[in-house]
């Protein structure tokens, strides 16, 4: 009988490096930056870490193969280090490895560290790379914005919405994230923008303009997890525990089967339903307090609001434009600036999302802290492209919530 992960594992400490164009730092430096904060927060000796998971998506252009790079950078105690890669959902995957190790009893204290050093490519945007031998022969090369822009075309067709109306809702999302990023000292982009700037920006991939796209950043984020019992024995009182951790991976149905119209994420819907069940959430719109979603592009965030069952199908545009997800709204989304402004160091992003929910729940988010600390925070971390992807969802909250 599967009982799920709810309340079995607590977050002992977290850390996050300053995201951005870190011309000063190698991947090693970034990992150390996040790790030191997490270790200090956890209040443990490094020798107490039993196992580690490392997430990185573009190892070919930064740390190379294997988990060795993290073991060396952090001078771990020759413990197991497993490197994971699941496109842009890699960060949540590392977290999942560490959490499952603790839940299984195989480890008492486990580390998840995500890192990405992207700004050594020589150009903006994600690096061009192969997606395998078959894809090289029959796939579309394209760019990330080009793949995600497909959503907008299908969403418009499905819901009969004009390009301008959809563009305006997408622009609202970016304006909101910029406003949030401006409040966050660790964010990559800290400049507020207005809606006209978004609407008039150069086109990257129709209908996504420059401000509909997150940039790529260097960065690292880290989590140290243990059992609630050990956390308490180490003197922790307010425990943030894992309520749900779910991954859904495309099996080719969207791309090869029939029935998917391209306007939503099949996997996110599945992962969300599983996660709500695991966390005991019946009405996510009423019960969740905070969202960190994979806003690689404004349109991704928009459709994700429906895929997470926060907005009704076809209703995200209205919710977005009414400010439902603004920092001051009923359910802030990307209160730290999100991928859009906090930044997107791919292998670290999933952990960065959890980091923000963790800080907010504990009331430690500084100037951007929600007045009333959130109870349950959901993070949604997506890898791949709309027609073929990995959707990862983590829900964290105070123990007992």
């Amino acid at each position: 009988m599967v009982t799920g992960i709810r309340d079995k594992v607590a977050i002992l400490g977290m850390g996050c490096a300053k995201f951005g164009e870190r011309w000063d730092a190698d991947a090693d430096n970034l990992m150390v930056e996040a790790y030191q904060e997490a270790v200090a927060d956890a209040g443990i000796e490094p020798s107490m870490i039993d196992a580690a998971w490392l997430s990185v998506a573009f190892d070919a252009i930064n740390i190379g193969p294997s988990g060795i790079a993290a073991s060396i950078a952090l001078r771990l105690n020759n413990v197991s280090v497993t490197k994971v890669e699941n496109y842009c959902a890699s960060g949540t995957e590392a977290f999942r490895g560490a959490v499952y190790a603790v839940a299984s009893g195989a480890a008492q204290i486990a580390l998840a560290i995500g890192v990405e050093k992207l700004k050594d490519t020589g150009y903006g945007g994600l690096p061009v790379r192969t997606r395998g031998t078959m894809s090289d022969m029959i796939g579309v090369v394209g760019s990330a914005p080009g793949h995600f822009a497909q959503l907008a075309s299908a969403y418009r067709a499905r819901h009969g919405i004009s390009r301008d109306e959809l563009k305006r809702a997408m622009a609202h999302i970016s304006v909101k994230s910029h406003a949030n990023g401006a409040q966050n000292p660790n964010a990559h982009l800290r400049k507020e923008i207005d809606i006209e700037t978004v609407l008039n920006a150069p086109m990257v991939a129709e209908p996504l303009g420059l401000y509909d796209c997150c940039g790529v950043s260097d960065g690292a984020a880290c989590a140290i997890v243990t059992t609630p019992e050990i956390a308490r024995s180490l003197g922790k009182t307010d425990l943030v525990t894992v309520k749900a951790l779910q991954l859904a991976v495309s099996n080719g149905w969207e791309l090869q089967g029939s029935g998917w119209d391209g306007s939503y994420f099949h996997t996110t819907r599945i992962a969300a339903e599983r996660a709500y069940r695991e966390a005991g959430i019946d009405d996510p719109r009423a019960q969740l307090s905070l969202l960190e979603v994979h806003d690689c592009f404004s349109i991704t965030e928009l459709v994700t609001m429906e895929d997470l069952h926060i907005s009704p199908e076809g209703g995200a545009v209205k919710d977005v434009l009414e400010g439902f997800f603004d920092a001051s709204g009923p359910m802030p989304c990307q209160i730290d600036g999100g991928l859009k402004c906090f930044g997107h160091p791919v292998g670290a992003s999933g952990l960065r999302m959890i980091y923000e929910n963790y800080l907010q729940i504990l009331g430690r988010a500084g100037e951007r802290q929600r007045g009333k600390p959130p109870v349950l925070g959901l993070s949604h971390n997506l890898g791949g492209m709309p027609n073929q992807n990995v959707a990862a969802i983590a829900i964290v909250g105070l123990q007992g919530a």
Partner: protein, 480 residues
């Protein structure tokens, strides 16, 4: 008697305004002005001799049995591979049987007519020969050849029975008359003086071949109703007709105002065009010049043309996009080294063993159809995609290249590298089932919308410039 059973053609959509060439080069060579009328066709970056041949062949094979084709001939002087049979790639794209004979013809501008004659003279009963001419020549910027050349392909299906036009006789004159040449590894032609070529080449060699051919057939020059002959040299065809005693009005149009001279493919293109309108019992003489002259005499039969085939060449002539950006023409043809950005640096190395394993998927766009559930998918897989049935090993080959499709999702991408930005791509769904994520080509922004009918076309997917390998796959183009 052997004869031509059907015909097809392909003319790239892009047409360069010759006035744009003059605007670029007139300062150096004001003499280009006399040629600066009309437009010429040119292939986009993702089209070459092979892809154009495939498209012409598809038109030619419409309504014909591909299963019966016994020989596939490709004539060109600009085929992409010196050693990897170009006709063999066309054969794979057309999903012809493995036991066909495939042959590359080249080495001369008359190679197209040479191939046609070989097809007519050697065709076996019940195993028609697909004879394709295709040419994509690089012309030196600012040259007369740039003004007069064009890119195109034409295909003729030749059978042992009369068909649309039966063979009366054929003849060859082979002499090493070097009016121009292009050495191995050279990009451009070197040509001798036009007046000498006109007088000693066209003026003597072609009339001799025609005279000897007519003698074989026991006919007179005045018996020729349609004369198919072309030369990029203005007026040369007419002077040949006169020298051979053929009625000047028998000479077909040269398509020089809209296409330009497509080299080895051009006589076949003009022949296909002539077959659109030739009347029963008209005698058609087609001649190809280069290192001598090959000539064939045909007679149009009473067989009727179906309405689609009647437009086999005309429909492509009509499908045109004028281009007055000369630099774009140069860039798309690899004639200028422009800054392409770092995203263009991706290594296009092709694992050849993987291509061999997946040749039907990649080159012929063969998907799978489950024998049990009928589910159609691309590509084929061991375990089928149908969520209600995970049958293993139940899929049979299912060709998708000729299936009409519609756009499901799309974008125009200005970030990703493509030689012809923006990159249009998206998901398409085949009307009979199955779908794929695919690059679009020949598309304008206004044509790309959800639900838009598309047809699949064989194109270059990428070029490994380091190793000189061209990778092919299928793309979706707006359907007419």
């Amino acid at each position: 008697m052997p004869g031509i059973l059907s015909f097809g053609a392909y003319i790239p959509r892009l047409r360069l305004q010759r006035s744009a060439v003059l605007a670029a080069h007139g300062w150096f060579n004001p003499g280009l002005k006399s040629l600066a009328k009309g437009e010429r066709s040119f292939a986009n970056w993702d089209e070459d001799v092979v892809t154009m041949a495939v498209e012409a062949a598809r038109g030619c094979l419409r309504g014909q049995s591909r299963e019966d084709v016994g020989t596939m001939m490709l004539a060109s002087t600009t085929a992409p591979f010196a050693d990897r049979q170009n006709a063999g790639i066309v054969k794979e794209a057309l999903n012809l049987r493995d036991d066909v004979t495939t042959l590359d013809f080249g080495g001369s501008q008359r190679a197209g007519v040479s191939a046609l004659i070989q097809a007519l003279e050697t065709v076996r009963k019940d195993r028609p020969v697909l004879c394709v001419g295709s040419e994509k020549k690089k012309d030196r910027p600012g040259s007369e050849a740039e003004m007069t050349g064009g890119h195109a392909a034409a295909a003729l299906l030749v059978g042992a029975e009369d068909g649309l036009a039966r063979l009366i006789a054929s003849h060859s004159v082979s002499v090493d008359f070097v009016d121009h040449f292009r050495g191995n590894g050279e990009t451009f032609d070197f040509s001798w003086e036009a007046r000498w070529i006109r007088e000693e080449g066209f003026g003597k060699i072609v009339p001799r071949a025609i005279r000897e051919l007519l003698a074989k057939a026991a006919l007179q020059a005045s018996d020729i109703d349609v004369f198919v002959f072309s030369s990029p040299m203005r007026g040369a065809a007419l002077s040949v007709a006169k020298a051979a005693g053929i009625t000047p009005t028998a000479l077909t149009g040269s398509l020089d105002a809209s296409v330009g001279d497509s080299g080895a493919a051009h006589p076949l293109l003009l022949l296909a065009h002539a077959l659109e309108t030739a009347k029963p019992r008209q005698r058609i003489l087609v001649a190809g010049f280069g290192s001598g002259c090959d000539a064939a005499l045909l007679e149009r039969t009473d067989a009727s043309l179906d309405p689609v085939q009647r437009l086999g060449v005309s429909s492509w002539l009509a499908r045109a996009k004028s281009e007055d950006n000369y630099i774009k023409y140069l860039a798309l043809n690899g004639l200028i080294d422009i800054e392409r950005g770092m995203r263009a640096e991706i290594d296009n190395r092709q694992p050849l063993s993987a291509l061999w394993r997946n040749r039907k998927t990649v080159l012929a766009l063969i998907g799978g159809r489950c024998k049990k559930t009928g589910t159609i998918q691309f590509p084929k897989s061991d375990i089928e995609v149908n969520p209600n049935d995970r049958s293993v090993g139940t899929q049979e080959d299912y060709p998708l290249a000729e299936e009409p499709a519609r756009i499901l999702t799309h974008t125009s991408d200005s970030l990703t590298y493509t030689p012809d930005p923006p990159a249009f791509y998206g998901m398409v769904e085949f009307e009979g089932g199955g779908r794929m994520y695919v690059d679009f080509c020949d598309a304008e922004a206004s044509e790309v919308e959800v639900g838009r009918p598309m047809r699949m076309v064989f194109r270059i997917k990428g070029v490994d410039e380091t190793r000189g390998f061209t990778k092919y796959f299928w793309k979706a183009a707006p359907a007419a």
